[in-house]
C-alpha cells in the first residue's frame, strides 16, 4: 500500500516529525490556512522568509516551514522582518506570532511598521492569554478573567488589535477566528499579494490555558463560542457600540492603497545617487 502523504507536507521541514502544540490548540488551523494560501497561490515556500518571536504562535513557522525562518527574541520579530525586507525586497516576508509578542512587548514595532507601510504579511494569533508561560493575563485578556497573574479577575481594558493597526496606517487588515478557516485562507492570500503592510488577526483557542481560566470546556466549546460571538463587518456597521460588546467583528476591515516604504526608499536612493555630495 502506498504511504499517504499530506499534500502540504512538502512545505514542512523534513526533520520535523511532531508538533509541540497542546491538544486542541488553534495553531494547527492557522498553520493549514497559511500553507493552503501559499499552495493556492501556486507559490513556492522558498518565495518567503518567515519571522517569528516568542510564544506558542511563534512555533508555527519555526521549525515547521521548510524555508528560511528566523525565530527571534520576544517582541521584536517585526523589527527583524523590516531588516530582512530591506535586504531581500523581492522576497515575501511573513511574520507569525502571538498577541503577547506583537502587541504587548512588541507593540511599538507593530504600530511603527504599520505606519511605515512596509511590505510584509503579519499573522497575529490572538489567544487572549500567555499560553506558554502558564496562563497569565495579557493586553488582550477580557476584563474579569481570572488568570495566574490576575487571580481575582483581570482589571484592565483589552486592546482591539485590528483597530489599533488600522489607526496606525496598515493598508490591509482582516480579522477571523479559527471557526473561519476558509475565509482566513482567502484573506491570507490577499495579504500576501498586497503590496504593503497587511495584518491578519486570528482569534485562536487555547483550551489548556484560556479555556480553563475562562471556564470553557475544551476547544470545541471555544470554537462554538467564536461562531456565536462573530459578526461580519458588513453587518456590524449597522450595530450600535453596546451591541458590539463581547462580539468579534470579523471580515476584511481595511483594504486601501498607500505608497510602500521599500519602494519609497528606492525612489529616494535614485535621487541620492544622482546628487552625490
Amino acid at each position: 500500500m502506498k504511504e499517504i502523504v499530506h499534500p502540504l507536507r512538502r512545505f514542512v521541514r523534513p526533520s520535523v516529525v511532531s508538533s509541540t502544540n497542546c491538544p486542541g490548540c488553534g495553531n494547527g488551523i492557522v498553520t493549514q490556512s497559511i500553507l493552503r494560501a501559499i499552495d493556492e497561490l501556486a507559490m513556492d515556500i522558498d518565495d518567503f522568509v518567515f519571522v517569528s518571536g516568542i510564544g506558542c504562535a511563534a512555533w508555527i513557522p519555526s521549525p515547521f516551514f521548510n524555508a528560511d525562518v528566523l525565530h527571534s527574541i520576544h517582541g521584536r520579530p517585526l523589527a527583524y522582518a523590516l531588516g530582512i525586507k530591506m535586504g531581500l525586497p523581492e522576497k515575501k516576508v511573513m511574520v507569525v506570532s502571538g498577541d503577547g509578542d506583537l502587541v504587548a512587548i512588541g507593540g511599538n514595532h507593530l504600530i511603527h511598521n504599520a505606519r511605515r507601510n512596509v511590505d510584509m504579511t503579519v499573522i497575529c494569533v490572538n489567544n487572549s492569554i500567555y499560553g506558554m508561560t502558564g496562563g497569565q493575563a495579557g493586553p488582550t485578556t477580557p476584563a474579569g478573567v481570572e488568570t495566574t497573574t490576575t487571580p481575582y479577575g483581570s482589571f484592565e481594558n483589552p486592546f482591539d488589535i485590528s483597530r489599533l493597526v488600522i489607526a496606525a496606517g496598515a493598508t490591509f487588515v482582516a480579522r477571523w477566528t479559527t471557526i473561519h478557516p476558509r475565509e482566513m485562507t482567502r484573506s491570507i492570500k490577499k495579504a500576501i499579494r498586497k503590496k504593503g503592510f497587511s495584518f491578519i488577526e486570528v482569534h485562536s483557542q487555547c483550551p489548556v490555558q484560556f479555556g480553563r481560566k475562562s471556564g470553557m470546556n475544551g476547544s470545541v466549546e471555544m470554537m462554538e463560542d467564536y461562531r456565536k460571538r462573530s459578526v461580519r463587518v458588513e453587518k456590524a456597521a449597522g450595530f450600535k457600540e453596546e451591541q458590539l460588546k463581547n462580539r468579534i467583528v470579523v471580515g476584511e476591515l481595511v483594504d486601501i492603497e498607500k505608497p510602500e516604504m521599500v519602494e519609497e526608499i528606492n525612489r529616494i536612493r535614485a535621487k541620492a545617487m544622482r546628487r552625490p555630495s
Binding site: 521541514r13 523534513p14 526533520s15 522558498d46 522568509v49 519571522v51 519555526s62 521549525p63 521548510n66 524555508a67 528560511d68 525562518v69 528566523l70 525565530h71 527571534s72 527574541i73 521584536r76 517585526l78 523589527a79 527583524y80 522582518a81 523590516l82 531588516g83 530582512i84 530591506m86 535586504g87 531581500l88 523581492e90 522576497k91 511599538n108 514595532h109 511603527h112 526608499i265 529616494i268 536612493r269 535621487k271 541620492a272 545617487m273 552625490p276 555630495s277
Partner: protein, 384 residues
C-alpha cells in the same frame, strides 16, 4: 569599492564622520539607528552617504528595533552597522545576545558618554567597557576595539567589519565623546589598498539538509536567506544544523562553549596592541583617548630620566591577557590609566600582578582625560 564609497584623500575630519566613512569603505550596505548624543553625527553621515552608494539608513523607533533590523539585514547577506551611545546599548543588550547566539556579523558603535543613566551626554567617559563584554545575559565572548583618534575611527571601523565577517559575530567600536567629536587629520587610502573580508557562505545549490551552518569553532558558513538554504535560525539552544534542542544538556554545553571558543581560539589574530616599553620600565597601560595622555607622559618621564613605557590595548575584548603578561614580566611596575573608576583594571591586574606591582590612576575628574603631569608624578612615586 567605488570611488563614491571610498573618498580617498587627506581630510580634517571629525571622528564620528571618519567612522561613517570607514563603514562605507568597508562595504557597509545597511545601517539603522536612533538619534543620541554624542553618536548622532555618524547616523547623520550614514543617512546621507549610504543611499549615494545604493545602501540605506533607517531611523528606527528605538535602539531595540535598530539592532534588530540590522541583524535581520545581516541575515540577507548585507554588511551592516548600528551606532549609538550607552543608553542605546542598554536597550540593545538582549538583541546583541541574539546576534552572538545565531552568529550574525554586525558592527555596533558605542560613542560612550557621561554615565550611568542619562548622565552627561556630551562628555567622554570610558564607562561601558565591561558592558560591551557582559551586557547581555549568559556566557559569551565579544570583540571590541578602542580607537584613540579620528584616523582610528576610520581604520578600526574597517577592522571591525572585517572581524565581524570573519568571525560571524557582533563587533564593538568602543569610542567616546572625546574621540567621536575630535577633529584631526584623517587619511582615507586608495580603495584598492583596503582589505575587505566577506563571510563564508555555503556554495550555491548545496543540499539544505547537509548544511552545518552553526557552532563551528573555525566559523561555519552562514546560510544567509534568499539562496534556498532553508536556514532555521533560532537563538534557542541549537545544534550545528540550527535545529532547536531544549532537552539535552550536552547540547547547551556545546552551544555555550563553541560560541565562546570561536572567539577565544582566534584571540591572537584579533588582538591589536601597541607596546612601547623596555625591561625595567614603569609601563602605562591604557586605551582610547587616555593612551594619548599616557604617551605624552611617558615621553616627558623619559626626558626626565625616568624608565617609562606604554602599552595601549586597542583590542579590549577578547581581553589580551597574554600581551599583558608578556609586558608584566618585563615591567618594573604597571600603572593602569582609564577614564573611569577602574573597569579594565581588575582584568589587567589579574594578568599582571603575578609578575609585578600594579596600580590604578583614575583621572582627577571622571570625564576628564588625565593630565600627563599627574601621570609623571605617579611614575616618580612608584620609581622611588
Amino acid at each position: 569599492m567605488t570611488s563614491e564609497r571610498v573618498r580617498s584623500g587627506r581630510y580634517f575630519m571629525m571622528g564620528n564622520e571618519a567612522c561613517a566613512e570607514g563603514a562605507l569603505a568597508a562595504g557597509c550596505e545597511f545601517a539603522a539607528g536612533y538619534p543620541i548624543t554624542p553618536a548622532t553625527e555618524i547616523a547623520n553621515r550614514l543617512a546621507k552617504r549610504l543611499p549615494q552608494v545604493g545602501g540605506a539608513f533607517l531611523q528606527m523607533e528605538d535602539e531595540i528595533s535598530s539592532i534588530a533590523a540590522v541583524i535581520g539585514a545581516s541575515w540577507t547577506g548585507k554588511k551592516v552597522m548600528t551606532v549609538t551611545s550607552g543608553p542605546g546599548i542598554s536597550l540593545m543588550s538582549e538583541n546583541i545576545g541574539f546576534a552572538v547566539g545565531v552568529e550574525t556579523p554586525c558592527v555596533i558603535v558605542n560613542v560612550q558618554r557621561g554615565a550611568p543613566t542619562t548622565g552627561m551626554p556630551t562628555v567622554g567617559v570610558q564607562g561601558d567597557m565591561v558592558q560591551a563584554k557582559h551586557g547581555s545575559h549568559g556566557d559569551y565572548e565579544i570583540i571590541a576595539l578602542c580607537p584613540s583618534s579620528p584616523q582610528e575611527m576610520f581604520d578600526y571601523t574597517i577592522t571591525a567589519f572585517n572581524y565581524a565577517e570573519k568571525y560571524r559575530t557582533p563587533v564593538f567600536i568602543l569610542s567616546d565623546a572625546f574621540v567621536g567629536h575630535m577633529r584631526e587629520e584623517v587619511t582615507i587610502p586608495e580603495a584598492k589598498t583596503i582589505e575587505s573580508v566577506y563571510r563564508k557562505i555555503p556554495s550555491q545549490g548545496t543540499d539544505p539538509q547537509s548544511i552545518r551552518g552553526f557552532l563551528d569553532e573555525d566559523i561555519a558558513p552562514m546560510p544567509i536567506f534568499g539562496r534556498g538554504f532553508k536556514a532555521h535560525v533560532t537563538s534557542s539552544c541549537h545544534d550545528q544544523a540550527g535545529k532547536r534542542n531544549l532537552i539535552d544538556l550536552s547540547s547547551l554545553d556545546l552551544f555555550v562553549r563553541r560560541l565562546s571558543n570561536k572567539i577565544l581560539k582566534h584571540k591572537e589574530d584579533i588582538t591589536i596592541v601597541d607596546g612601547n616599553y623596555a625591561k625595567g620600565d614603569v609601563v602605562l597601560v591604557s586605551y582610547g583617548p587616555v593612551a594619548r595622555s599616557a604617551s605624552a607622559a611617558a615621553n616627558e618621564a623619559r626626558e626626565a630620566g625616568l624608565p617609562a613605557g606604554t602599552l595601549r590595548i586597542a583590542t579590549v575584548w577578547p581581553f589580551p591577557d597574554h600581551e599583558i603578561e608578556k609586558m608584566a614580566r618585563k615591567a618594573k611596575h604597571v600603572i593602569v590609566l582609564e577614564n573611569n573608576l577602574g573597569q579594565m583594571y581588575p582584568y589587567i591586574k589579574a594578568a599582571a600582578a603575578r609578575f609585578t606591582g600594579v596600580s590604578f590612576l583614575a583621572p582627577a575628574l571622571i570625564g576628564q582625560i588625565h593630565d600627563p603631569e599627574e601621570i609623571v608624578r605617579k611614575i616618580k612615586e612608584v620609581v622611588q
